[in-house]
Symmetry: C2
Subunit: 323 residues, 2 copies
DNA sequence: CTGAAAGCGCTTACAG
DNA sequence: CTGAAAGCGCTTACAG
C-alpha cells in the first residue's frame, strides 16, 4: 500500500493536521516541525492522495473540453491554447470528442453535477434543454445557449461581408456561399446572413448551400454546390475543412485558381498544417481560448461575467484571390 | 447543497447501502425497494458524487494523454482515437501538452502516484529516469523506456527503405534525408538508419539533416538542409509538419515537384487537413491508438503485456513522386 | 434482500 | 504553532 498522511504523521511524530498544513504550504508551521515532516515524506516517498483532498475541498481542478472531433485544425488549436491557459491556473483539461457518441454532450452536464469536473467548455452544436445546464459552469463558443452561459465569438457578420466585398472588387461576378450549418442558434449563421444581405445590396443572385453535416462529410456538400452552381467564379467557404475540400474539388474539376475561381474561407491560416494558403478570415484562436478559460474560471468561482464576448478577426491574403 | 446518498436514503426510507447498490446496479435489491430508491433519486434530482466513490474504490477512470502539442495532425488524430477507444472502456482522457512546460511530463508520474489518474500514455521525447515510473501504468509510442513500459510502433526501418527504393527506381539520383531527431532512444531513429544503410548499399553519398527541434521550428531544419544539399532531387522527410514545410520551401525556391524534386514523407495522409497529397508512409494511427489503450488498460489492471507491438504501415502514392 | 457501521485519505474548524 | 476529532460522500464486508 502507498503511504498515507497517517504514516507520515506517525513517522514524523506529529499530528496529521500538521502534515496537511505542510503539504498545503500554510504558514502556520514551525521550521523544525516542517523539516521533520518533510523528511518523513521523503523517506516514505509519500504522495498526497488527490482523490481524498478533492472530496474534502469539493474541487476537482479539472475542466472538460467538449469538441465534435479533436483531429480538426480549429478544434485542435483551440484545445492547445485552452490547455495552456488552464494549466496556468492549475486546471487540467478532460478531452471529450462527442461526434461519435452524441450522448457524451449531455453526459458532461452529469459529470459536473457528479463533481467529476468543475466546469466545461462546449464547442459543439447539439441541442440541449436550457434548464439542464442551469447553474453549471459552462462557457461556449459562437453559440447562444442562454443568458447564463457566456460565450466567445468573432465578428462573423462584418468579417464575412468585408471579405466578400474584397472578392467582388477583385472581379468575382457570380458569387456563392458554402457552409455547414450549426444545429442550434449560433453566431456562425451571421456569415450566411452577411452573404445574403450583400447579394441583395449588390443586386446579385444568391447561390448558397448551407446544410447540417458531420465533420468528415464535407465532400457531399461541395458536390451539391458545384452541381447546383457550376457557373460560380467566387465563393465564400465557411470553415477550414470545407475550404480544403472545396479547393481540391475546384482544382480537380479543371478550374484555375484564382483565375476561374476565387476562394475565401472563414478559418484557414494554420500554417503548420498545410502548404496551401487560402485567402481567409482568421479567427484569433489563441485569444479566444484564453478568454474562454478566463470566463470559465470566473463562472466556477461563482463570479458574474458578461454573456457575449466578440473578438476581432484578421483578413489574410493568400493565393486564392486575384491581385 | 446538492443532495447526498443520505438524503436519498432518508426520503426512500432505506439504508444508504441499499441506495448505493441501486446506483451501482447490483442485482441484490428487491424490485419495490429499487423503485422507491429510484423515485427518491428522481425527486431529489440526485447525482452520485464521483469524488467520493473514486476515493472508496481507489480508481479515477481517467487516463492522461501526454503529447508535445495537440495541434498537430498526427497527435490530434492519435488523440481522437485514443479518446474514442478509452470511452468504450469507461475511461476519459486528460489532455496534457508538454512542449510549453516540459515539467508537465514528469508531473504526470506524480499524478499517477497521487491518484489523479489511473495511468498515462506518453507520446513525448523527454528523458526520464527509469526508476521514477517503475510500477506506473504507462504506455508509450515508438520509444523504448524500459522493459516495464510497453510501446506501440510501426515498421519504421522496412517502410523507410522500401519507400526510398521506390523513389530511386523512379529516377532520384541525389537522395537526401531530413528528420527531427527524438531526444531519447526511439524506433523513429530507424528511419535514418534505413536511409543510411540503403545509401551504403547503393553506393550513394549520405545527405542527411537530422536534429532535435521543437514542433513549430521546422523551417530552420529545412533551410539548413537546402543550403547544405541544394543538388538533391529526392528526399525522405520524417514527419508530417516537416514535409509540409519542405514542400513549400521547395516550391518557393522554384523547384518543380516531382520533376526537380521527389518527396516522400513518413506520415502524411491526413486528407481532411490538407489538399496536397505527398507520397508517404502512412502509419495506422487508429490501430495504434486502440492498441495503446488496450495495453494501458491491461497495465492498470495489473496484467502483464508484451513490451513491443509493431504495426504495419501503408505506402500511399501521392503527387510528389514520378510516375 | 437489507441495514448499521467502518473506513477510503484527506481538510478544517476548534481548542489549547 | 500544533493535536484530536469531525466529516467530505461514498462502498463494502458483516450480520441478520
Amino acid at each position: 500500500m502507498a503511504p498515507t498522511i497517517k504514516d507520515v504523521a506517525k513517522k514524523a511524530g506529529v499530528g496529521i493536521g500538521t502534515v496537511s498544513r505542510v503539504i498545503n504550504k500554510q504558514k502556520a508551521v514551525g521550521d523544525k516541525t516542517r523539516d521533520k515532516v518533510l523528511d518523513a515524506m521523503k523517506e516514505l516517498n509519500y504522495s498526497p492522495n488527490k482523490m481524498a483532498s478533492q472530496l474534502r475541498k469539493n474541487k476537482t481542478k479539472i475542466i472538460a473540453l467538449l469538441v465534435p472531433v479533436i483531429n480538426h485544425p480549429f478544434f485542435a488549436k483551440l484545445a492547445y491554447f485552452i490547455e495552456d491557459e488552464a494549466d496556468k491556473f492549475g486546471y487540467t483539461v478532460l478531452l471529450v470528442s462527442s461526434q461519435q457518441r452524441v450522448e457524451k454532450e449531455v453526459e458532461i452536464i452529469s459529470r459536473i453535477k457528479r463533481r467529476e469536473v468543475d466546469g466545461a467548455v462546449f464547442v459543439t452544436h447539439f441541442m440541449h434543454d436550457e434548464k439542464v445546464f442551469k447553474d453549471c459552469p459552462i462557457v461556449s463558443i459562437d453559440r447562444t445557449f442562454s443568458k447564463d452561459v457566456p460565450y466567445v465569438t468573432s465578428n462573423n457578420y462584418d468579417a464575412t461581408k468585408k471579405a466578400l466585398e474584397y472578392m467582388i472588387e477583385k472581379g468575382a461576378k457570380k458569387v456563392g456561399f458554402i457552409g455547414s450549418k450549426p444545429l442550434v442558434e449560433s453566431e456562425v449563421m451571421d456569415r450566411e446572413r452577411a452573404y445574403i444581405d450583400l447579394m441583395k445590396e449588390k443586386n446579385m443572385p444568391v447561390r448558397s448551400v448551407n446544410e447540417i453535416i458531420l465533420h468528415g462529410d464535407e465532400s457531399r456538400l461541395v458536390n451539391d454546390f458545384m452541381n447546383k452552381y457550376p457557373e460560380v467564379d467566387g465563393v465564400f467557404v465557411s470553415g477550414y475543412s470545407l475550404s480544403q475540400v472545396f479547393y481540391k474539388n475546384a482544382v480537380d474539376s479543371g478550374r484555375k485558381i484564382p483565375d476561374d475561381m476565387q476562394i475565401i474561407s472563414y478559418d484557414g491560416e494554420f500554417t503548420q498544417w498545410s502548404v496551401n494558403q487560402i485567402t481567409c478570415v482568421e479567427q484569433p484562436i489563441e485569444e479566444m481560448a484564453r478568454k474562454i478559460v478566463d470566463l470559465l474560471i470566473k463562472k466556477i468561482r461563482g463570479e458574474t461575467t458578461q454573456t457575449r464576448t466578440v473578438l476581432e478577426t484578421r483578413f489574410v491574403l493568400g493565393s486564392t484571390t486575384k491581385k
